[in-house]
């Protein structure tokens, strides 16, 4: 195996050097990067990735090998918790006592003129906050009684309270949040990060996605797709039923030992083939088959939550036999602990329009909070206790906010209390990995309609996450269809005040 690896590295190094040479000389683009020779198998140095001016074929043989950041990163990995559908900031974090005074009154015309809403038509009524708010921790963060467990960990959190977006429908807003563009087809944040940094554990995919809530997020798999980046960087969804990774189980009637023998036979014959035809791609294939075999073991092992002690299961509120958001939080910790670079959680069911009890802010939202609150708090505590929170960035949020008005879909009074999609203001939070502890950034107006201070756009938010991981977001680019693309499109400013 060692010999094989050496051979692979040697062959690929020669090829890659030649490739750089070809490109740099024939196009006059990019700097001559002989660095690859000096860095073992990290053929694409981070510098290359940050200034990818060559053609868009990445044929590095170790495309996910770890790469150093451009400068010292504060975060080594990310757990991104996305509450798909978008929780109401006005019930959870953005305390607006003034809004209560307007409860039931007609929405002033100036908040409606020239605005578009997904479902509100005509003149809706204002709707006061439904949660009971109090300040918590030494930082005095406002959190409502919907999230009792989170109240206990606010001193580890930075709240961004004046987030705003451009999209008021779920799918485009989720795409904007995760890919920097509202239309399908761009790489997701996790793909950019694994493209830029590789993975620390070569027995596991570098970018893993866990979904709960019974459904995929509205924008589908595109929110963890690799877009125009090579597919090796796309998020691998670990499923809660069946094989955690598709086709990771051997066929029934084939045990591990037989599978090992088949892999060995494949490798042996492929090695003979390489000796004959000298195509370096064959060496890569041998390595990938061996990795596949290891992944068949390591993925189920990482997912084997039953091995956790009871007190951990209890702290997250996990039933190990059931797929749930809480289970995914615990899995997220197990995965980052094993060196997975980007763990993306999606929980479906946070869209609270008031059209049904489940989709209401007084009943459904409370339930969703109840099902998730303990696990999120436990995750932060667990990471902290293991010393992982210092260099793991945890992000929590939806794709947009919710209106201070009560939704009146098609001009009707709805049976339950709900709020429409709102793009002007919402709250997300971050913890760990280089952000301030017990901090709140940004303010909205008295009724939570507009951000009035320290507004943060989606692209700013993305620029900041990349910064924490050690990237200059303007330089982490990829050449596609004739121009360099990046996560933050043509915008994005780092939100410096929240950096620790």
């Amino acid at each position: 195996m060692n010999k094989l690896l050496q051979e692979l590295q040697q062959a690929a190094a020669e090829r890659e050097t030649r490739r750089h040479f070809l490109h740099t000389c024939s196009t006059g683009l990019g700097a001559m990067a002989f660095g690859s020779l000096l860095q073992g198998c990290n053929f694409l140095t981070n510098n290359d990735r940050q200034n990818n001016t060559v053609g868009s074929t990445i044929q590095s043989d170790e495309p996910t090998a770890p790469h150093p950041s451009a400068y010292l990163p504060k975060a080594q990995r990310v757990i991104y918790i996305h509450m798909a559908g978008s929780p109401s900031q006005l019930e959870l974090f953005d305390y607006k006592p003034e809004l209560a005074k307007y409860d039931g009154k007609d929405c002033p015309q100036e908040l409606l003129t020239g605005k578009k809403f997904a479902f509100i038509r005509g003149v809706p009524k204002m709707l006061g906050p439904q949660g009971k708010f109090a300040q918590h921790g030494n930082s005095g963060a406002w959190v409502s009684d919907y999230l009792p467990h989170l109240q206990g960990v606010v001193d580890d959190i930075t709240f961004l309270k004046a987030m705003h977006t451009d999209q008021f429908n779920h799918a485009p807003a989720q795409l904007l949040m995760h890919t920097g563009g509202a239309r399908l087809g761009r790489p997701s944040m996790g793909s950019w990060v694994t493209y830029g940094l590789g993975t620390e554990n070569d027995n596991l995919p570098g970018y893993i996605v866990l979904a709960s809530g019974g459904k995929q997020p509205d924008a589908g798999k595109s929110v963890w797709g690799s877009g125009f980046l090579p597919t090796v960087y796309q998020g691998v969804q670990c499923r809660t039923d069946g094989d955690p990774v598709l086709f990771a189980s051997d066929p029934s009637g084939m045990n591990r030992d037989i599978r090992k023998q088949t892999i060995d036979a494949i490798s042996e014959i492929n090695q003979q083939q390489y000796d004959d035809v000298k195509d370096p791609e064959i060496l890569t294939r041998i390595a990938q088959y061996e990795l596949a075999f290891r992944m068949q073991m390591s993925v189920p092992d990482a997912m084997a939550i039953k091995n956790e002690p009871q007190y951990i299961l209890d702290s997250y509120g996990v039933d190990p036999n059931k797929g749930s958001f809480a289970r995914n939080c615990l899995l997220a910790r197990r995965l980052v602990e094993r060196g997975v670079r980007f763990v993306q959680l999606f929980d479906w069911g946070w869209d609270t329009h008031g059209t049904s009890a489940d989709g209401s802010i007084d009943i459904g939202l409370k339930d969703k909070c109840h099902q998730s609150d303990q696990a999120v708090a436990a995750l932060l505590k667990d990471l902290k206790q293991r010393g992982l929170l210092d260099d793991t960035l945890v992000v929590w949020g939806g794709e947009f906010g919710r209106t201070p008005m009560q939704e009146n879909r098609d001009g009707q009074v709805l049976p339950f209390m709900g709020r429409d999609h709102h793009l002007e203001a919402f709250t997300v939070w971050m913890a760990g990995g280089g952000v301030k502890k017990g901090f709140s950034f940004g303010e909205t107006d008295d009724i939570g309609y507009y951000g009035v201070k320290d507004k943060v756009h989606i692209h700013d938010f993305q620029a900041t996450i990349l910064h924490l991981l050690g990237f200059d977001h303007t330089k982490l680019t990829y050449q596609f269809q004739g121009r360099p693309f990046r996560l933050t499109d043509v915008a994005g400013k780092i939100v410096k005040p929240i950096l620790a």
Binding site: A219, D241, D257, M295
Partner: protein
């Protein structure tokens, strides 16, 4: 060219040269395109280009670069580098002044090059790919030829080159000091060419026939047979589906189904019929604009109806209509011009010669299309069932016999045909305004309740006394009043709304209107006292002329016949169709690409840096399509030829097939590209089969793909083609090969997409209840291109092998090599089933394990395994057979699957299945060698 210059210079010394610097004679002329433009693009253009013009200075266009900058200074003074501000600023030491600002200084030789270029007159050059395609000379088999003969064992003088392609390749190899490789063995060659041309491996018999054929045209016979095979069309349609972003769903959040497979079938037939590429192009882009389009020409326009539709609640149809139009512009440029036009949606092109306005002029070609992101996917072409078809015929017959003036009769027939086949022209209800007690229900179709009202703007009523309304409601006793000009204006009609059971279950009604002249606003108001809260939904309305012989104020017999036809249940496929008259749109520039901020009005045209549209072409999509395939379009043929080359060799002559512009990677064999492009257009009259034949008949293509370590070191990516292509199979070919060699593959062609075996839980759409329903019978084993393609959850094993999701046009699949691919071919039940069937074949075609393994391998690779490899597999077979003998239950577990005869379970068959599974995972098997 480099080495020749000196001779040309010396020989052709003339007045002009004497006048220039004396050194100029000995100096090589600097070439703008290859030497200067890359330098400018890399170092300068980000700030001094199309997007930014820092200090009022831009290097994008010559006139801009030679004009004074904001400072009044001339950056470039042709003929005088010392007087040029640009050179001064490049050479300063003060970092605040020195260019490029905040970046490393240019290297001395680079500055020297710029200096020489300016001294030589700062000659500008157009990018080569924008210049007309001219037939280049075929490199002569020159002095190197004699040397060559000694390199190629077993070949006489001049014998390596089989056609002109080889001359170009050899010329370059010679320059690089390389020699071509010998021809591949016949088994490898027939597998390669079969996989390339049909996407399927040859059968053992086909291979044997070829191997034993001693005639001199044995290979050509194989090629001709493959080009005639129906599988050819399937393979190349598969490629084109990525470009057409074909899918069986509409995309975006809800991603519901869309029936557009007739377009896919059209593609297969077009490739099989070898429809010339120019016709192939025009029909897809503008088949609907022919004077009397055939069904096939309509279906072909499905190409641009593969854009996504957003059915998510709360979305604005206009926003996504515009998104689809923009996608059509970008895709047209991507596919036919290999040019990233999308950049100039927001600003002038940073590198290539296109301006912001030109984007919108080009968009104007597409902006009249009638599709408006309506949930029904309208407009569609309707296919009537036989009984209803007869009704259509009888209606047309009636018109022809009733209307005496034949011209008038034909006009009426055309108008009625358009109506019954496409249900156009019509006004979609999302355009209604001034809503009272009304709403766009789920942001899709207009609906109102009791006392509700709305306006339909600017309707031309002259000669259109028949109103068609498609509506649905569960309300009883509802009445709609239609008034002219005002909410309380004169009543044109008062009609009871038919109760259809639900708002979605709509029916088309015809309402006679009195004769009214001119354009008017119409007001609809609803009276629904019995069920005031029930919605009355309207999908669309249409104002039609009177059919001949029908009474004015009530419905006649033929009115009812027409209505019957319109209400008939008919399968449909989305098509392109342009709006005219009131339905034509104006196109405006979108400021900074924002569709809500409209700038000046523009009319359709092509960019100025390209040859103009010939005056006899109409300024519409049809004219644009014809312009694309005009002989003087510099890009269409080059892009097409490059794409086919890439499909066969794994890499294009220009690697970046998506970008032929100045930012793309330059061609490895530019003259060859131009030669093939000219041949394609002129000699072969756009025949794709002839182009492909030319390429596969070349000696270059037929070389063996193995290489010496020296050659790999010298040309790791085989750009110079001193060896044959060696490339991993496409997602489709990996799948189809496994089914073909295990005899599972169905030969069935065409029809709705199928759902083969897929793991549970892949489809989790938030709202619609769509389910993956396993297809029955042979539909479980169709070729991969027939697999149902859901954009937000595409078939997983295909995506793992680098299929795009088909949300947008993808011009090139990047080939990856990942562990997830290994898991697919090792463990996906589709591949395990294939292994099992291959094992059954093996067990019937050999007496010993050795013989059986050889039989299986021959089935896949058309040749015997060498003994060393055979030994590995025999060893594997023996240990697994031992295992299954000891554990018969495990053999049963492995082999027990639906449709398998359980009495055949044996340790031998289980071990052969494991062996076959192993073989199907060998590198050489999933690679085209």
């Amino acid at each position: 060219m480099k080495s020749h210059w000196l001779f040309v210079g010396v020989a052709g010394v003339g007045v002009a040269l004497l006048l220039s610097s004396f050194l100029g004679i000995f100096e090589k002329q600097v070439d703008y395109n290859t030497q200067i433009k890359p330098l400018l693009n890399k170092n300068c253009i980000v700030c001094h280009g199309g997007v930014k013009k820092a200090a009022g200075f831009s290097l994008l266009f010559k006139q801009e670069a030679l004009a004074p900058a904001k400072s009044g200074k001339l950056a470039i003074v042709p003929g005088d580098a010392d007087a040029s501000e640009m050179i001064r600023r490049l050479t300063l030491t003060d970092p605040d002044e020195r260019m490029p600002l905040n970046h490393p200084a240019l290297k001395p030789d680079e500055i020297d090059l710029l200096r020489r270029w300016i001294d030589q007159g700062a000659k500008w050059g157009d990018h080569w790919a924008y210049q007309p395609v001219e037939r280049p000379g075929v490199p002569a088999t020159g002095s190197f030829w004699s040397r060559l003969t000694s390199y190629v064992p077993g070949h006489g003088k001049n014998s390596w080159a089989k056609n002109e392609i080889d001359h170009f390749i050899l010329d370059k190899l010679e320059q690089e000091g390389l020699t071509p490789s010998p021809e591949a063995d016949r088994a490898t060659l027939i597998r390669r060419v079969s996989l390339d041309l049909t996407g399927l491996p040859p059968t053992e018999k086909e291979a044997a026939d070829f191997i034993n054929d001693t005639s001199s045209d044995a290979y050509e016979k194989v090629v001709d047979r493959l080009l005639k095979s129906p599988a050819y069309g399937e393979r190349w349609a598969g490629m084109w589906l990525d470009l057409a972003r074909y899918a069986d769903t509409k995309g975006y959040e809800r991603d519901p189904g869309r029936k557009i497979w007739r377009y896919r079938d059209w593609l297969i037939k077009a490739f099989n019929d070898d429809k010339p590429f120019n016709k192939f192009t025009v029909e897809q882009l503008a088949g609907d604009l022919f004077p009397t389009p055939t069904d096939d020409q309509f279906i072909a326009t499905g190409f641009h109806r593969n854009t996504m539709n957003n059915d998510e609640g709360g979305t604005q149809d206009e926003e996504f209509r515009v998104a689809a139009v923009i996608d059509r512009v970008n895709t047209t440029w991507d596919v036919w011009q290999g040019t990233t036009f999308a950049c100039i949606q927001c600003h002038s092109h940073p590198y290539d010669p296109f301006t912001h306005d030109e984007y919108y002029k080009f968009m104007a070609f597409f902006n009249n299309a009638r599709d408006e992101d309506v949930t029904s996917d309208t407009p569609t072409l309707r296919f009537y069932k036989p009984d209803d078809s007869l009704k259509v015929v009888s209606l047309k017959q009636f018109i022809k016999t009733t209307v005496t003036n034949p011209e008038q009769a034909q006009k009426t027939v055309n108008q009625v045909t358009k109506l019954v086949r496409t249900v156009e022209p019509k006004i979609n209800s999302h355009d209604f305004d001034q809503l009272v007690n009304a709403s766009l229900l789920d942001a899709k179709y207009f609906g109102f309740q009791d006392k509700g009202a709305t306006r339909i703007k600017n309707v031309t009523l002259t000669g259109r006394p028949r109103l068609l309304i498609a509506w649905g409601t569960k309300a009883t006793n509802a009445t709609v009043t239609i008034r002219q000009d005002k909410l309380d204006g004169p009543v044109l009609a008062r009609v009871p709304v038919p109760k259809t059971g639900s708002q979605g279950n709509d029916t088309i009604q015809m309402i006679p209107l009195p004769e009214v002249q001119g354009k008017h606003n119409l007001y609809l108001s609803l009276n629904s006292p019995t069920s005031p809260k029930d919605w009355v939904q309207i999908k669309w309305v249409s104002f039609q002329p009177l059919l001949p012989g029908q009474p004015m104020d009530s419905l006649g017999e033929k009115d009812k016949l027409l209505l019957d036809i319109l209400n008939a249940d008919a399968p449909q496929t989305p098509i392109m169709l342009d709006g005219t008259g009131d339905l034509a749109r104006e196109t405006h520039v979108f400021e900074r690409g924002n569709w809500m901020v409209k700038g000046k009005k523009v009319s359709p045209d092509v960019p100025k840096s390209f040859p103009a549209m010939s005056p006899d072409l109409p300024k519409n999509r049809l004219g644009m399509a014809r312009w694309l395939v005009n002989r003087n379009n510099p890009l269409t043929a080059r892009v097409a030829v490059n794409r086919f080359w890439e499909q066969l060799f794994g890499t294009g002559i220009i690697e970046t097939i998506e970008d032929m512009g100045t930012q793309g990677i330059p061609p490895t064999h530019r003259d060859l590209l131009d030669y093939l492009a000219v041949e394609f257009m002129e000699t072969d009259r756009w025949s794709m089969k002839k182009l492909l034949k030319k390429i596969v008949m070349s000696a270059t293509y037929q070389q063996q793909s193995s290489a010496s370590p020296e050659l790999v070191a010298k040309d790791p990516y085989n750009r110079l083609l001193a060896r044959g292509p060696r490339v991993r199979l496409s997602a489709e070919a990996v799948h189809d090969q496994a089914l073909a060699v295990s005899k599972l593959l169905s030969q069935k062609m065409y029809g709705p997409s199928v759902m083969p075996s897929q793991p549970d839980g892949i489809w989790q759409s938030p709202y619609d209840g769509d389910k993956w329903k396993l297809s029955m019978g042979e539909d479980r084993h169709r070729r991969a291109l027939y697999t149902y393609w859901k954009r937000t959850a595409p078939y997983p094993s295909m995506v793992t092998f680098d299929s795009p999701s088909r949300e947008f046009c993808q011009l090139r699949r990047l080939r990856t090599n990942t562990p997830l691919q290994a898991l697919v071919t090792l463990n996906d039940p589709v591949y395990v089933e294939a292994a099992q069937h291959l094992a059954a074949y093996m067990s019937n075609h050999g007496k010993s394990p050795e013989g059986q393994i050889q039989a299986g391998f021959r089935q896949i690779m058309l040749r015997d395994l060498p003994s060393k490899k055979l030994a590995v597999l025999v060893r594997l077979y023996r240990t697994t057979e031992q295992y299954y003998r000891e554990k018969p239950g495990e053999a049963e577990n492995l082999l027990d699957r639906p449709g398998f005869d359980c009495t055949k379970v044996s340790p031998q068959l289980a071990a052969l299945t494991v062996t076959a599974n192993t073989m199907l995972n060998l590198d050489e098997v999933i690679t085209k060698e």
